[in-house]
Symmetry: C2
Subunit: 676 residues, 2 copies
C-alpha cells in the first residue's frame, strides 16, 4: 500500500532514526521484537477483525461482540503464554505480567474501550492473593486463573458512596447458628455500582461490606459472593444485578450494579488473611494489611503509565495527520502547507509529546521507588519504612496532575485535528474517555491533592524545626532565593520549586488563620483551594526536577544512543519550559526574581525547541511504534492515507448499506406530502 | 412525586426568589409563560417520550428514531405556529424565530444531539433568501418552507478543505450548448463532508463550487443541486452520498458526504442574486454580497448564546447533584455533608454559573451591536459602515474564547460530579459534545484568534498615530499605568486591559522583528503564539468590561428587581475575579503594579463571594428554569431523585431486559469449560 507522499518526505528528511528510538522506548531490542511478534500474531488473526466500527453498534450489540472477542482473545493469549513458558507459577508477579498484556498495547489494540474480563485478572485475583488465607487460595485461585466456573469482579463503590469508604452501607451479618454471613444492601444508595464486568459477565463478586456479629460492628471486610449460577448464569436468589449503562468512555467494561437481599454465604467465604470470624462468632483482628498502601500506590503508578500511553497515542495521530493535512498558504502562491508548519499547530502538538515522554521517565523512577519501598516492607515491616508516607503522597499528586494534564492534552490534540478529530473514527473520543476516567477512578483528583497537601504541610512544619526532609520534598527546606543563571532549565525548575514551597507556606498560614475561628476540619475545608494548589505546584516541581534527574542518570549510565540522548534532551527541556510557562501565574507571584524579561528568554528558547523538533516529529512518533490497531484511527495510520480511510470507514457504516433508509417512506415522504 | 429533602431545605432557605429571577432571565413574564406553555404541549405529548435512552441505540437506530421524532415535531410545531399566527410572512425574521424554536430550549429538550432537518431551516433556507434571485425564491422558497418535495442542506466544506475556502476543489463547468452546469468532485479530497442532514435525509443541496465558463475561473458560486429523487429518495445518477459516521457529539445531525460525477443542473440553478451566468456564458459580477459578513457574525452571536446555554445546563445539573450527594464529614461525628459545602466544590461550580450569566449579558450587547451595524448596512451600504471590521473582529475572538471556556467549564462540571458525571444518563457527554463542536465549526479557534489579532494590531498602529479607536479597543490608546483603587472589580478589569494592550504591543513587536528576516506571511506565522495570545487577552478584557457595563446599564434602566440586581452583581463580580485569577500569569507579567498582595485581596473577595452565593445556588439554577427534559440528566432533575433515576435508567437499558445474555452460552460457558 502506498504511503502518503508528505509523510514519506518527512521520514526521509528526519535526522532521528525511529528504529533506534523505538528500541530504547520499548526497553530494548528483545522487548520490541517480542511485542511486534505478538502484534502480528493477534492483529493478523481474522478472529479479531471488526466488521463494523464499535461506535456504530448498539450498547447491547457492543457487549455481545466484546464478549465474543474477549473470550477468543483470552484463549489464544493463554495458548501463547503456554508456548512461551510451559511452567506457570501462579504468583503476584506472574499475574502482574499477564495483566500488563491485557491492559497494555495489545489489550488496547483489540479493545479500544477495554473489556469486561480484565477486572477478573486485576482486582478480583489480586484481592484473592492479598486477602485470602492459604485454604481460600487453594480453593479459589487455581479455578480463577483457569476461569473454571469463576468469573470474578470486585464490588466496593456504592451508588451513594465512593471516596468516603467508611460510609459504605452494604452489610454482612454473621449468623452463628448456620455459620453463614447474610449480605444485604439495605437502601437504594447502598447498591454496588461501577464494578467492571459485574453487569452481565461475572458470576462471583468480592463484596466489601460492614461486618456485624451479634449486632456489633467490626468494620469493612471482604466477602466472596456467588451472584450467578455457574451453569445457567441466572442471578441467584436475592441477587439483583445488571449493567449501569453507557458512559463517556470505557464502554466495553460492562460496569454493573448489584443489590443483595438476604444472600447467604458460608463463613469460609469471608477473606480471612487479615481478620477472622470464628465459628462461634468471635472476631479476631489480625495484623492490618501491610500491602494495602502498596496496592493503591501500584494502581497509581500504572495509571500514570496508562495516561501517558493515551496522550502519546493521541499525539501520534495528531502529528501524522498534521503533516498530511494541508491548509492555508504561508508564502505567496505556494501550495497550502502541512498544518504542522504553522507554529501555532506545533505549539499544540509538540509539548504534548514532550509531556508524555517526560512522564515516562518519571514513571520509571516512581516504579523503582515503589519496588524499593515494597522490599523494605517485606524485610522490615511497617516500622522500618519511613518512605511509605512520601511514596503515598507523591503517587497521589502525580496521579492527579498527570491524569488532568493528559486528558487536557488529548483534548488539545483532538482539537488540533479540526473537524476530523471530532469523528469517532479518529478515535480521540475513546482515548479521551479512558484518560478522563482516570481523573476520577482510584482516587478523585481533588481528594488526592488534599491528601498530598496534608503531607506537604507536615513536612513544611518539620522543615521549620530544621529536620531533614525526604528526597521529593527536600526543596521545602531550601529558603535561598532564585539566582537566574545560565542554565535555563535549572532556573525554571528552581522557580517551580520556590513557587511550590511558597504555596505550601501560604496554605499552612491560611489554615492557621482559619483555625483561630473554626475547628481544624472546617479550617481545612476553608483552605481547600490553597491546599490543592500547593499539591499541584509540588507535582509540577517534582515532575520537572525528576525528569531532568532521570535523563541525567540515563546519560551517565550510557543507556542512550547519541540520537536518543539528543532528542530526549530537547523533549525534557520543552516539557520544563512548557510547564514553567503554563504555571507562569504562580511562578511570577511567588518568585520576586522573575518578570517579563526571564519569561521572554524562556519563550524564545521554547520556540527554538519547537523549530528543532519539528523535522523529527514524524520520526519521533514512529518511534513510539504504536501499531495501527493500537491507534485505531483513520487519521493516524502509518501510511497516512487519511482521506481514503475516512471514506472507507464511512462506507462501512450500516446506515450506508441501503440507498434509501426505511424512515423515508415511513416519515419523510408523508411529511413532505403534508400527511403528518 | 417527593422532592429530595436536602434540595427542599436549600429552596426554603434561599433568599433569592427563583421565579423573580426566572422572569428576568426569560426576558419577561410573557416570554416565560409562553415557553412553559410550549414545554407542556410538547413534553407531555406521548409522541415524544423516548422508550430507550439514545446512548443505548445503534447509530442506525438512532437515525431512524430521530427522523420519526423530528417529522412529528415539525408537523406539531407548525400546527402550533398556525394557531398562534395564522398569517405567516416568509421573511428573514420569521425564519429566524422558527430556527430559534428548533435550536433553543425546546429543540434541545427533544433532541439532545440535534436533528437532521435543522439545517434545512437554517443554512439552506437562509442562503436561498440571501443569494437567490426573486424568481429563484418564487420557485423554491415556498416549497422549502412547506418541505414540499424539498429537504435541503448546505454543502461547502470538503474532505480536504475547510478553513481555506479558496482551496475548495468541487467545480461547476458551464455548458452553453445545453445551458447547464456540470458539477464534479474531481478528487477524493474534494468530496463534500460534514453538511448536516446530507447523509440520508436531504434531497437538495446548495453546493459551493468553483465556477468555470469556457475554461475560465470565476470563483466560488452556489448551486442548487437535486441529489435524491423526490418520490423514491434514490440518489440520482452521478451522486454518491452517505453519512460520515458517529462523532463526539451531535449524533442526531446525520452529517453526510457527497461526491458529484458529471451531475447536470439547469443554468437557472446557480444562485444568481450577486453574480450571474447568462445563457451564452457571459459572466456578470453583481455587487458583492453585503450581508455575507453579517451572516457570519450572526452565527457567532448565536454560538455564544448556544454555548452559554450548554454551560448553564451543565451547571444546573452539577449544582443540584452537589446538594443531593453527600460525601465526607467536615465536622467530627456529623453526617457526611452535601459536597457543595466543600469550598473546593463551590470553586468548581459557582464560577461557571457566573461565567454563563456574564456571557449572557455580553451576548445581549453584541446582538444589539450586530443589529445596529445591519441597519447601517441597509441604510447606507458598506461605505457608511465603519463598525463592520470591529464587529467582525470582536465576534471572532468572543466566539473563540467563549467556546473554549464553556467547553472546559462543562468538563469541569462533569468532573465535579465524580463517577456519576461520567455516565451518559447524566448527559454531560451530550452537552460537552455540542459545546466542544462549537470550538471548531463556523470558524476554528486559532484561525478566529488570528483574524482578531490582525484587527488589534491595525488598531494599535492607529493608536500610535493618535487616531480615535472604536469602543471595544479604545483601551489600546490608554497608556496610563494601573492605579489600584478601592473598587476591586474596576482594578481587575483595568489590569486585564493593560495586559491585553501590552500583549498586542508585544505581538506587533515580535512580528516586526521577524519581518526583518522573513516575508510578512512567514513573520505572521512565526508570531502565531503571540498573536493568538493577544486576541485571547482582548476577549477577556472585553468580556469583563462589557459585563460590568451591561449590568450598570440594566440597573440604570431600572430593569432589575432588587433581588436580581443583587445576585447579578455578585455573579458578574465573581466572573471578573475568576477571569483575573485564571489570567494571573498575563496580569502579573504585564502589570508592574500588581503582585501577590493584590492577588490576595482578590482571592479573599473571591472566596467571600463563593460563601455569599452558596445559599442561593439552587434557587439561582432553578431560575434558569430549564425543564427536566432540557437537562436530560439523571443527576440534575428538579426533584433531585438522583439515585432513583440512575437505577431507573439502568433498568431500562436493553442489555438488562433478559437475565442471561445470549453470549453466555455462546462464549463464556465454552471458555469456562476450556472449550475455546
Amino acid at each position: 500500500m502506498s504511503v502518503n507522499a508528505d509523510l514519506q518526505k518527512e521520514r526521509a528528511a528526519a535526522t532521528l532514526d525511529s528504529e533506534d528510538f523505538a528500541r530504547w522506548w520499548a526497553g530494548g531490542s528483545s522487548q520490541l521484537e517480542e511485542r511486534r511478534a505478538l502484534d502480528r500474531r493477534f492483529y493478523d488473526d481474522p478472529d479479531f477483525v471488526e466488521p463494523v466500527h464499535p461506535s456504530c453498534l448498539s450498547y447491547k450489540e457492543r457487549y455481545e461482540q466484546t464478549i465474543a472477542r474477549s473470550t477468543r482473545f483470552l484463549a489464544k493469549l493463554r495458548q501463547w503464554q503456554r508456548e512461551k513458558q510451559p511452567q506457570l507459577d501462579l504468583s503476584v508477579n506472574m499475574l502482574r505480567d499477564f495483566r500488563l498484556l491485557l491492559s497494555g498495547s495489545l489489550g488496547t489494540g483489540l479493545f479500544q474501550q477495554s473489556f469486561p474480563l480484565r477486572v477478573h485478572f486485576s482486582m478480583f485475583m489480586t484481592t484473592l492473593l492479598s486477602q485470602g488465607t492459604e485454604e481460600q487460595q487453594a480453593q479459589w485461585l487455581n479455578r480463577s486463573w483457569h476461569m473454571d466456573g469463576v468469573l470474578g469482579t470486585y464490588a466496593q463503590t456504592e451508588l451513594g458512596h465512593g471516596t468516603f469508604v467508611r460510609g459504605l452501607e452494604t452489610r454482612a451479618d454473621y449468623d452463628p447458628e448456620r455459620q453463614e454471613f447474610v449480605l444485604n444492601t439495605p437502601t437504594q444508595s447502598s447498591y454496588k455500582w461501577w464494578p467492571g464486568g459485574l453487569g452481565n459477565t461475572a458470576n462471583v463478586a468480592i463484596v466489601l461490606a460492614q461486618l456485624y456479629v451479634k449486632g456489633k460492628h467490626y468494620g469493612l471486610q471482604s466477602f466472596l459472593v456467588r451472584i450467578r449460577d455457574e451453569s445457567t448464569h441466572e442471578p441467584l436468589t436475592g441477587v439483583d444485578v445488571g449493567d449501569i449503562g453507557p458512559r463517556l468512555g470505557g464502554n466495553g467494561v460492562n460496569n454493573g450494579f448489584l443489590g443483595l437481599h438476604d444472600v447467604r454465604i458460608p463463613r469460609t467465604q469471608m477473606l480471612m488473611k487479615n481478620a477472622q470470624v470464628l465459628a462461634d462468632g468471635t472476631f479476631v483482628q489480625g495484623r492490618p494489611p501491610l500491602l494495602l498502601y502498596g496496592t493503591m500506590v501500584y494502581v497509581r503508578v500504572i495509571t500514570l503509565k496508562d495516561v501517558l500511553f493515551g496522550l502519546l497515542q493521541a499525539a501520534t495521530i495528531a502529528t501524522r495527520y498534521s503533516v498530511v493535512r494541508r491548509q492555508s498558504r504561508i508564502d505567496g502562491d505556494q501550495p497550502e502547507v502541512s498544518i504542522l508548519d504553522h507554529v501555532t499547530q506545533q505549539a499544540k502538538i509538540l509539548p504534548q509529546i514532550a509531556r508524555g515522554v517526560s512522564y515516562r521517565l518519571v514513571s520509571e523512577w516512581l516504579w523503582r521507588f515503589y519496588e524499593q519501598v515494597l522490599r523494605q516492607l517485606e524485610d522490615e515491616g511497617r516500622g522500618g519504612v519511613n518512605s511509605l508516607p512520601e511514596l503515598h503522597a507523591l503517587s497521589c499528586c502525580l496521579k492527579a496532575v498527570a491524569t488532568d494534564e493528559a486528558s487536557q492534552g488529548v483534548d488539545i490534540l483532538r482539537k488540533s485535528c479540526g473537524g476530523h478529530g471530532f469523528l469517532s473514527s479518529a478515535n480521540f473520543d475513546s482515548i479521551y474517555g479512558l484518560t478522563a476516567a482516570a481523573y476520577t477512578y482510584e482516587g478523585e483528583y481533588t481528594v488526592l491533592l488534599l491528601q498530598t497537601a496534608r503531607f506537604l504541610i507536615r513536612q513544611y512544619v518539620e522543615s521549620l524545626k530544621r529536620k531533614v526532609l525526604p528526597y521529593s520534598v527536600s526543596y521545602l527546606r531550601d529558603t535561598s532565593r532564585l539566582v537566574w543563571g545560565k542554565n535555563l532549565t535549572a532556573n525554571c525548575v528552581r522557580a517551580l520549586e520556590i513557587s511550590a514551597m511558597e504555596q505550601v507556606r501560604h496554605a499552612w498560614q491560611t489554615q492557621k488563620t482559619h483555625q483561630s475561628k473554626a475547628s481544624a476540619e472546617m479550617a481545612s475545608n476553608l483552605s481547600g483551594r490553597q491546599l490543592s494548589s500547593c499539591a499541584v505546584a509540588h507535582a509540577h516541581a517534582f515532575f520537572t526536577r525528576n525528569a531532568l534527574d532521570e535523563l541525567e542518570s540515563l546519560r551517565k549510565q550510557g543507556a542512550l544512543s547519541p540520537d536518543v540522548s539528543l532528542i530526549l534532551g530537547q523533549l525534557v527541556e520543552l516539557f520544563v519550559f512548557d510547564t514553567f510557562l503554563r504555571q507562569s501565574g504562580c511562578v511570577l507571584r511567588w518568585n520576586n526574581g522573575i518578570n517579563g524579561t526571564q519569561l521572554r528568554f524562556v519563550e524564545r528558547r521554547y520556540e527554538e525547541l519547537l523549530a528543532k523538533l519539528r523535522p523529527n516529529a514524524v520520526a519521533l512518533v514512529d518511534g513510539f511504534d504504536f501499531h495501527d490497531r493500537v491507534l485505531g484511527s483513520t487519521l493516524g495510520c502509518y501510511d497516512g492515507r487519511v482521506y481514503e480511510r475516512l471514506m472507507e470507514e464511512a462506507r462501512r457504516n450500516p446506515v450506508n448499506q441501503e440507498p434509501v433508509n426505511s424512515s423515508f417512506h415511513k416519515h419523510l415522504l408523508p411529511m413532505m406530502r403534508g400527511k403528518l
